[in-house]
Symmetry: C2
Subunit: 327 residues, 2 copies
């Protein structure tokens, strides 16, 4: 079997998740890991996997089918995205909601010029949750859509805290407000502000001598990430963080409460209960890496979101088998 | 605004649901209803809607953008599908799972030859549930998928009973076996036969003098619909059926229990709680009617399933607005 040759760009939680997920997909093989760190630091034991610096990407143009970009959205992807889209098909999980339109334009231009295909903002939110929001609104035009997250660790938000000067490490929990969830499930269609739906709880390890008050203020005022929420910042020791907050669970649900005809209520729900969030996101990225590879082979180029990619491209099975087995 | 001109073919529960759903979609207008019954019997009060016989379809080729086929899968759609695909773009809810591959081929040929696009087997199962089965298996390759239906009335199954000689009316409830659902939710990954997951309960009004034993036997032995289930057949009066079984609720869920990495459990779930099943199916059909209309305008022809249609085509919003608002 001809396998899809995958590269991982960035070897953090998400990159390691992609490495594990490739082992669950027999039609894929890992050929390279790009990192800013020296190869020896990464502890890669598979001798068939090249460990490379990002500056070496161009040399691998003919040896990689899809690069899975696993860097953070705040500073990595805005640079690495367009850079890698020039050399390879790409998939990423860019999740700074407010900047998606701009990132899309940049990725579309870079990928289109190079004849590559780039799927952006893939994962579960943005990603599978976005997909369900669109689907639910299209099939039930009269109604209200709600997204709740958690309780769980948000990698994007934890990452954003870690980038603050004086922060050594951090874990952020998103927690839905239970009373609000209950009202939605009862079909009340309540109007809920961002603040009424979730609280954010941040466990932060400060560098020695760092100004904790300034760190807490920077977190709480960070636009898009924390400013619109009731955010609790709790400083703890590095030991406590490792001991109590190392698991990476998450979850959430998208619900649409609508009606058809003369007041017939219709309720749609999509939910996730994830034991390991970055590993799940990695698995979603890989399914879309398969799609990107195939669509590019058919001649498509430019940027795509989860809204643009037919589901048939995600499965290793043929359309005829899918119709027979899953429809 | 240029509106999508929709025709309804078959004016039963589903057809009336489409009629109501069109009023919730401002970018669409109902231009014609095709029926085998005389126009006067249908009680259509909108003077802008032409009420036509199916044999008149050809005259309306230039006045209809999409025909929503609302006939039954057992006998109507196999004939009407290819027939209408020659004149119009079509959407249908063909739901005889075992015959989908053959129906797809026939619709693909008819639509392709005429330059039309036909979305087949749209609704919630087949339809949204199929979509989630494919998605869940692609993003979690290691795991088990379960579909549970009910408690609710299955139109397809009720319809199949009504076609039996000697049956005046019937309502079929699909009921999930609660113990089986519980085991799946606990992550046990049980192996469940078709029979272990659901029971089928049929309330039947027999024609006067009909052989009830023969009717019950025909129901219980009907392949694809009832043969693989524990099926209960209860004969009741027409009055009781109207009084106790007139609502058309349904629901169900698709769940995938999988794992990533070294045994991290991941649970995905999609569920529906429908106050009125045919009205919901009608709403799904209309969203896909929009997609079919647009994709055909872009030059696509032939048959498509829910696996082949990107979600962006379902929404009246532009791709840029979708990226900004829903991603």
């Amino acid at each position: 079997m001809e396998r899809i040759r995958v590269a991982i760009v960035g070897y953090g939680n998400l990159g390691r998740g992609v490495e594990k997920a490739i082992r669950q997909n027999p039609d894929m093989e890992l050929v390279a890991i790009f990192s800013r760190r020296p190869a020896g630091d990464l502890n890669i034991r598979d001798e068939d996997v090249a460990v490379l610096n990002i500056v070496d990407a161009e040399d691998y143009v003919d040896r990689i089918d899809v690069a899975v970009l696993c860097g953070g959205s705040a500073t990595d992807l805005p640079v690495q995205g367009p850079q890698f889209a020039r050399f390879f098909n790409t998939v990423d999980s860019f999740d700074t909601h407010a900047r998606i339109p701009q990132y899309y334009e940049e990725m579309d231009r870079a990928a289109r010029e190079a004849g590559h295909l780039s799927a952006i903002s893939i994962g579960w939110d943005p990603g599978l949750f976005s997909m369900n929001r669109l689907l639910f609104e299209a099939v039930l035009p009269v109604g209200s859509t709600y997204t709740f997250w958690g309780k769980g660790v948000s990698q994007g938000h934890s990452d954003a805290i870690r980038r603050i000067d004086g922060v050594k490490d951090a874990v952020q929990y998103t927690i839905p407000v239970s009373g609000a969830m209950e009202r939605v499930r009862q079909g009340e269609n309540p109007q809920l502000s961002t603040r009424e739906k979730h609280v954010r709880q941040c466990f932060v390890v400060a560098e020695e001598g760092a100004d904790r008050e300034r760190i807490a203020k920077e977190i709480k005022e960070m636009p898009a990430y924390f400013a619109d929420y009731d955010t609790e910042v709790i400083f703890i020791s590095e030991e406590e963080l490792k001991r109590e907050h190392s698991a990476m669970p998450h979850g959430g649900f998208v619900i649409r409460s609508g009606e058809t005809g003369e007041g017939n209520s219709q309720l749609l729900e999509f939910s996730l209960k994830l034991g390991n969030n970055p590993q799940f996101t990695a698995s979603v990225l890989l399914a879309y890496a398969r799609a990107v590879y195939r669509m590019n082979k058919e001649g498509q180029a430019g940027a795509r979101t989860i809204f643009d990619i037919p589901l048939s491209y995600l499965s290793p099975e043929s359309p005829a088998v899918l119709r027979e087995k899953l429809l």
